[in-house]
């Protein structure tokens, strides 16, 4: 099963409420995915710095130690099992090496100018609460509630998956050719942290976009290369897109107003959004890419 939600704000006045709205959407999809949940938030950022979300425990002094090693200022904001490190963009590679050497227990789950990802095992409302999602602001966010069917209930298997800077993907469905895609992508330098099929879809989009291809064109190409059932919601630093497989095996509903574009696996997820009564509510067509960009 699984539930997906996404919210892309057009009206900046709503940005402080992004997390609150997304938390409500996520909780409404608990029945579709009671075992784990995760979300990506596109919040504040600066072109000269990179945010790195790591997951684990023992964050005391981590930012300070990393900063000392790099000879640069590194800030850390811890939320429960996740820590968001902020450092000069040029130092991301050195930070990765340092973490691999000194803190191999930690998992890097996203990097980018604005993206932060949080995911854990547990009921969606509990996961949202432990990370304080309701207090977060931002321009867009994507969430996922998981009912594991193909692999174990672990945090590693929770969505969203991020395989490129400021990129993330959530998936409802299952891919049939993810092993062969992975064998194609790994030599291309796309790294995978898990055995999850959805992570391969994220990696595919990253691979397509690496040469400057737009998110919409990358997803269009995926229709030829991905085999299986999928509804995807994908985020980039300035974009938001939705794609369903040609059979439209998995449910999807969208709402658009002057203030936002919203996605839910079911309409119930959208009922708490402002002005939903008068929103244009529609079902995205199969095999058609829907994409929005920040202006």
């Amino acid at each position: 099963m699984c539930g997906i939600v996404g919210l892309f704000l057009k009206d900046k006045a709503l940005e402080p409420r992004l997390g609150q709205l997304l938390a409500g959407m996520l909780e409404m999809m608990s029945e579709r995915g009671p075992d784990s949940a995760g979300f990506a938030i596109y919040g504040d950022g600066h072109a000269s710095r990179v945010k790195m979300t790591v997951r684990g425990a023992g964050f005391n002094d981590l930012a300070a130690n990393l900063g000392a090693a790099l000879g640069e200022r590194v800030y850390g904001v811890a939320r429960d099992t996740h820590l968001v490190l902020s450092m000069p963009a040029d130092f991301e590679g050195r930070a990765r090496s340092w973490l691999a050497d000194h803190r191999p227990d930690l998992v890097i789950i996203s990097t980018g100018q604005r993206i932060e990802i949080y995911k854990e095992v547990g009921r969606p409302a509990a996961v949202a609460a432990r990370f304080g999602l309701s207090q977060m602001g931002g321009s867009h966010g994507i969430g996922h509630t998981r009912m594991a069917t193909e692999s174990a209930v672990t945090t590693d298997g929770a969505h969203p998956f991020s395989t490129g800077a400021d990129q993330c993907l959530v998936h409802n469905g299952s891919l049939s050719n993810h092993r062969s895609l992975r064998r194609m992508l790994e030599p291309e330098g796309i790294p995978f942290a898990t055995d999850n099929d959805s992570e391969v879809a994220a990696g595919y989009v990253t691979w397509r976009m690496r040469d400057g291809t737009s998110l919409a064109v990358a997803l269009e190409a995926s229709l030829d290369d991905l085999d299986g059932f999928f509804t995807f919601v994908v985020g980039t630093e300035d974009g938001f897109a939705v794609l369903r497989d040609p059979i439209s095996c998995k449910p999807a509903v969208m709402a658009e107003t002057d203030q936002y574009v919203a996605f839910g696996s079911e309409y119930r997820a959208l009922t708490g959004l402002p002005g939903i009564e008068s929103a244009r509510v529609f079902e995205p067509e199969p095999a058609r890419v829907y994409a929005w960009e920040r202006v």
Binding site: P246, I247, S248, P251, V253, E266, Y267, R268, L270, T271, E277, V281, F282, E283, E285, P286
Partner: protein
């Protein structure tokens, strides 16, 4: 007229009250407020009452309906009117996938568009869609009629048995064993009656419709295949 606030009484209580209605119920008009996209609203009706749902409904709304008239003032989720036996279901907005699936009787009217697999395995229901229908509509349809005033997606009538399909707009492609057929006088009469039942008047020109149905090459036993058994 009973007005039910679903946000207050909840779905189980609503359906329980509706199921308690007898064939000669005195409350013949029910209004359901704050449906909030909840699933399985007004399923399994047997009383000849009218139920208005004041907003968007979730999955399987009015499934298995007998005798009741259900009006959904917003959009309907997956499987609206699934396995309807009789009565009428009217969706003012769009319907999601598998609208009218397996339904055996009654009338389903969709003012907006219906998504994929509208009328899948329909077994006698009449469906009138004022907008367009998605791919694989009337998949394995067995009897009844599907009228589409807009366009139809890919593989219309895939593996169809014996339903009548009338489409005014473009058909992206026909499914296996589905063919265009002549529109004879009896079909024009039937189509006009279906449109009238859906509240569509003479302003709609029957000449704009094409009729599709089964070429009957797939579903009957063919003696040439006897050796396969």
């Amino acid at each position: 007229m009973p007005t039910i606030d679903l946000a207050v009484i909840g779905r189980r209580e609503l359906n329980s009250r509706l199921h308690g209605l007898s064939a000669d119920a005195s409350d013949i008009l029910w209004r359901i407020e704050n449906p909030g996209g909840q699933h399985a609203l007004a399923v399994g009706m047997t009383a000849p009452v009218t139920i208005e749902i004041a907003g968007h409904a979730g999955y399987y709304c009015a499934g298995m309906n007998q005798h009741a008239t259900v009006v959904i003032e917003g959009n309907a989720g997956v499987g609206v009117a699934e396995n309807m036996m009789s009565g009428a279901i009217h969706v003012r907005g769009d319907a999601s996938q598998a609208a009218g699936a397996t339904a055996r009787g009654g009338l389903l009217v969709i003012e907006g568009n219906a998504a994929a697999r509208c009328g899948i395995s329909m077994k006698g229901v009449n469906i009138v869609v004022k907008g367009s229908v998605g791919p694989m509509s009337a998949f394995m349809a067995q009897s009844g009629a599907l009228v589409v005033l807009g366009d139809a997606g890919e593989a219309l009538g895939e593996s169809i048995y014996e339903a009548k399909l009338f489409v005014r707009g473009q058909v992206k492609s026909l499914g296996a064993d589905c063919v265009q057929k002549d529109m004879r006088a009896e079909h024009r009469l039937e189509l006009r009656a279906l449109l009238e039942a859906a509240g569509i008047g003479p302003e709609v020109n029957l000449d704009e419709f094409k009729r599709y149905g089964s070429s009957r090459t797939l579903y009957t036993f063919h003696v040439d295949n006897a050796a396969a058994y």
